[in-house]
Amino acid sequence: MNLLILKTASHMVSGLMLVFSVFLLLRGHHEAGGGFIGALIAVIGFGLLMIAESPAYVRRRLRFPPEAIALFGLALCLLSGLVGPLFGYPFLTGVWWKDILPLGTPLFFDIGVYLAVIGAVLTILLALDEELD
């Protein structure tokens, strides 16, 4: 497929979608959004690029293998849960540090979910596309 308009537009649109997905991820704690929804938007953005360009292009721009991203996200979820026990709370208890910014382990947990979903779905999507070619 060599569609100039689709190619050009999809680069801009998918870039916007990725920014929007991060926005949704970060605002999720107070407004509608969150890690899962953000991840779906990001994956759709990548999917658009995959159709307009090629799976190899997406792999190159991703820089990390999607499986690794998924596992890293899962590890981040686990680690954010292990902060609680360090302070004597049960596993996965939210620990907050609000001196400068409202930071807490739930944020890192949500980022973990975000990366795990992006990685897992992209793994399937890329493998599927490459398998069919």
Partner: protein
């Protein structure tokens, strides 16, 4: 099974590493051999302490304790396990020399010995079960040690299946017993004794214990795994079938005897199983031509006799059982090692091919004679002592017991005479196997000789010690509160002695005409079903059943999977609605505004398009409409997060379909289902849709408990610092669920990746 040979001196090593490995091997062999001796010294230093336990760790909530007990019964078995274990390790040094994987062999033996020790000393029922299973596992490794051979693999699996099934029964029995007694500690259970029998659980508990003990101790009809286990190297047979594995069931029976021995069920099941086992396997032993199999079946006979003795709970029977356990361990281990030496020297164990070995293997002959005398029960051997008490018990118990015990003992005498006479003392001609000299390897005769001589000297010189330290404490552990019995090797002319002499005479007479006896037994029994064949046809049946289920459920047709899964789901939902007892309330349907009705009509129309269309693109579009209308529904019911997720999932679905569609065959190009199948599909679809609708109507008509959502709404900002309740639930309140879901997503991704990649690499090949 990882039974690969351990090559410590592999090729390509330099001279120095070879000698270093050689010394490492020697050190390890030394440790493996001396460990049982060290443990034996520990056991001998201990005095029997009924009621005292050594608790290493205790989990009070689970009533589980890593605790060991040191009463007479435990110490008797522990002494045998470590003493025979040491001699077996010693013997294996010679027997396994130069064979591949010999270090592994010694390691397995050691692990097995430790499991057996744990079994007989465990204070906690759960711990007892764990060690019981460990003996099954380690004996599997030992029986299947020569795993290049099909028979070894098959028989190892057979032993593991039979004794493992018994192990499961033991677990269930342990749970029931723990429930009945209110504790899992053996001391707590044994203190309550027969008071536990009032509980209605006593009968199922006893049945499970009997199943566990009968499978482990190879009682009829589970006896067949024991001769099958002869596929193992001879030291394994000598160890497992003299003092350890098969005695574990006897230990369990003796251990539980204070609780259950007053039940009629206990008496009858033990007496019948033991009697049938003793007689039937004695006949089977006469049929065998392989010397090792003869010994294996005669072990079965002894186990049957032990069970029979334990059935009665009579004082002489209990003493006789304890004596027989010790005597049998001595002479049977020794005889197995004698057979091992014959096998090693000639390469065969076939009765017909062996003769005249006595000239070349003088010390082995000596061991065989002495151990054979003990097996036959000649005075003043250990075997004689135990037989005297067996007959004493028999005279107290009635003529039927006496007859069974007399026949079994007479056949033992015959077998002992045959095993000693034929290979060693008969005249050889050129048809018989030639023997290599093996007696320059001193461990090969040292171990059986110690056991054989011990079987004569111990009752002669150490009878007081045996009575005081071994038999009486074990007797009181198995039969508390009973009158003490004093042991005497010579009690003058008694009916028991006369019967002993009659046994000897009958047995020798049978040995005199052994060929005829053997042929007669063979021709009269070879038409009867053999237990191992029943087992194999059972196993084949299980395999067939499982492949039948697999073929019908895992057929690889997507439509079939969907039908099975949706049909099961609709049945479950219907059952849930029906069993809830609530009738659906259709009144809310009247209040639905026309907007929703028109949306629902659009939904139905899009579904009809999906079903009827002939174009894949149209299908996808209609499916998309369906999804977006669902999203709209969520929006109208003010659930923005759910709506957003639904929208994105629908979009992602389109992306997936866009990628796949390029390669899909045209729609409706494949074969179609027949009218019958389509009717079934329609029925399942209607049932699922109807049952879910009714279930929703039932659920929404029930009063709504708002406690949980109210808590989330109230606490969302206060304690979790977030105003989006949905997100706070996901990442904080119920983060553990989310973690699990993330794990599922990642695993699904990796699984799909693996599947697709294997497809690619397979296609490239």
């Amino acid at each position: 099974m990882e039974g690969g040979p351990v090559h410590f001196c592999g090729p390509g090593h330099s001279q120095m590493t070879q000698s270093a490995n050689r010394s490492l091997e020697l050190v390890l062999l030394g440790i493996f051999t001396l460990l049982p001796l060290f443990l034996l010294a520990l056991v001998l230093r201990l005095d029997a302490m009924p009621g005292q336990v050594l608790a290493l760790a205790h989990i009070a909530d689970l009533d589980f304790a890593l605790a060991f007990r040191f009463d007479g019964l435990s110490l008797l078995f522990a002494g045998l396990i470590t003493f025979i274990g040491f001699l077996i390790q010693l013997y294996s040094l010679g027997y396994m020399a130069g064979k591949p994987g010999r270090l592994l062999f010694h390691l397995y033996l050691t692990l097995f010995m430790l499991s057996m020790l744990g079994l007989v000393m465990a204070e906690n029922l759960v711990l007892l079960f764990i060690f019981w299973e460990l003996t099954t596992l380690t004996s599997f490794l030992l029986i299947g040690f020569t795993h290049e051979q099909f028979v070894a693999r098959r028989n190892a699996v057979q032993a593991a299946v039979v004794t493992g099934a018994g192990g499961l029964c033991l677990l269930a029995a342990a749970v029931l017993l723990g429930q009945m007694a209110g504790t899992y500690q053996l001391s707590g259970i044994l203190v309550q004794g027969s008071a536990l029998l009032d509980d209605p659980l006593a009968v199922p508990c006893l049945l499970l214990i009997l199943l566990a003990a009968f499978t482990k101790s190879a009682q009829f009809p589970f006896h067949f795994w024991l001769p099958g286990a002869m596929a193992a190297p001879t030291p394994v047979s000598a160890y497992l079938h003299s003092a350890t594995m098969v005695k574990a069931g006897i230990y369990l029976l003796a251990r539980m005897s204070p609780v259950f021995s007053e039940m009629d069920l206990w008496f009858w099941s033990l007496a019948i199983a033991g009697g049938v086992t003793a007689l039937w396997t004695a006949l089977m032993a006469l049929r065998q031509t392989d010397l090792k199999l003869m010994l294996a079946y005669s072990t079965n006979t002894i186990l049957g006799a032990l069970t029979l003795l334990l059935a009665t709970g009579h004082k002489y029977a209990m003493v006789a059982a304890m004596l027989l356990i010790v005597a049998h361990a001595f002479y049977k281990a020794s005889l197995f090692m004698v057979i091992g030496n014959i096998d090693k020297a000639t390469g065969t164990r076939e009765y017909g091919k062996l003769a005249g070995l006595g000239t070349g293997m003088v010390i082995t002959l000596g061991c065989a004679v002495i151990a054979g005398l003990s097996k036959a029960g000649f005075p003043p051997t250990f075997g004689f002592l135990s037989k005297e008490y067996i007959y004493k018990a028999g005279f107290e118990l009635g003529w039927l017991f006496l007859l069974v015990l007399f026949l079994a003992n007479a056949i033992m005498v015959c077998l002992a005479a045959v095993i000693v006479h034929r290979p060693f003392l008969s005249r050889a001609n050129e048809t018989h196997a030639k023997a290599k000299p093996i007696e320059h390897i001193w461990v090969l005769w040292m171990a059986p000789l110690i056991l054989a001589i011990g079987g004569i000297l111990v009752p002669f010189l150490l009878l007081g010690w045996v009575e005081e330290r071994l038999v009486t404490p074990a007797f009181f552990a198995a039969a508390p509160g009973m009158e003490e019995v004093h042991l005497h090797l010579w009690e003058g002319f008694s009916p028991a002695l006369l019967l002993s002499l009659a046994t000897l005479a009958t047995g020798l007479l049978m040995a005199w005409v052994y060929e005829h006896v053997s042929r007669g037994v063979h021709s009269s029994t070879h038409r009867l079903p053999v237990a191992s064949e029943v087992y194999f046809s059972l196993m084949t049946g299980i395999r067939k059943l499982s492949s039948l289920i697999t073929d019908n459920l895992q057929h690889g047709r997507l439509t079939g999977y969907l039908l099975t899964f949706l049909g099961a789901l609709s049945l479950m939902v219907s059952y849930a609605v029906w069993s809830s007892g609530h009738l659906p309330d259709f009144s809310p349907l009247a209040n639905i505004s026309y907007v929703y009705w028109s949306l629902a009509a659009l939904l139905v129309m899009s579904v009809v398009v999906v079903i009827r269309s002939n174009s894949r693109l149209l299908c996808v579009c209609a499916l998309g409409i369906f999804g977006f209308i669902t999203t709209l529904m969520y929006m109208l019911y003010s659930a923005p997060d759910v709506a957003k997720t639904q929208l994105l999932v629908e979009t992602l679905l389109i992306v997936f379909l866009a990628i796949i569609m390029r390669r899909m065959p045209p729609l409706r190009s494949g074969p179609r289902h027949g009218p019958g199948r389509r009717a079934v599909n329609l029925a399942v679809a209607c049932l699922l849709g109807g049952s879910v609708t009714v279930a929703l109507l039932v659920v929404t008509s029930l009063p709504f408990n708002s406690q949980v959502p109210d808590f989330y709404a109230a606490q969302s900002y206060v304690s979790a610092h977030g105003r989006n309740v949905v997100n706070v639930i996901l990442v904080d309140f119920r983060a553990f669920d989310t973690l699990g879901e993330a794990l599922v997503v990642v695993v699904a991704g990796l699984a799909a990746w693996a599947l697709l990649r294997t497809g690619t690499s397979g296609a490239k090949k």
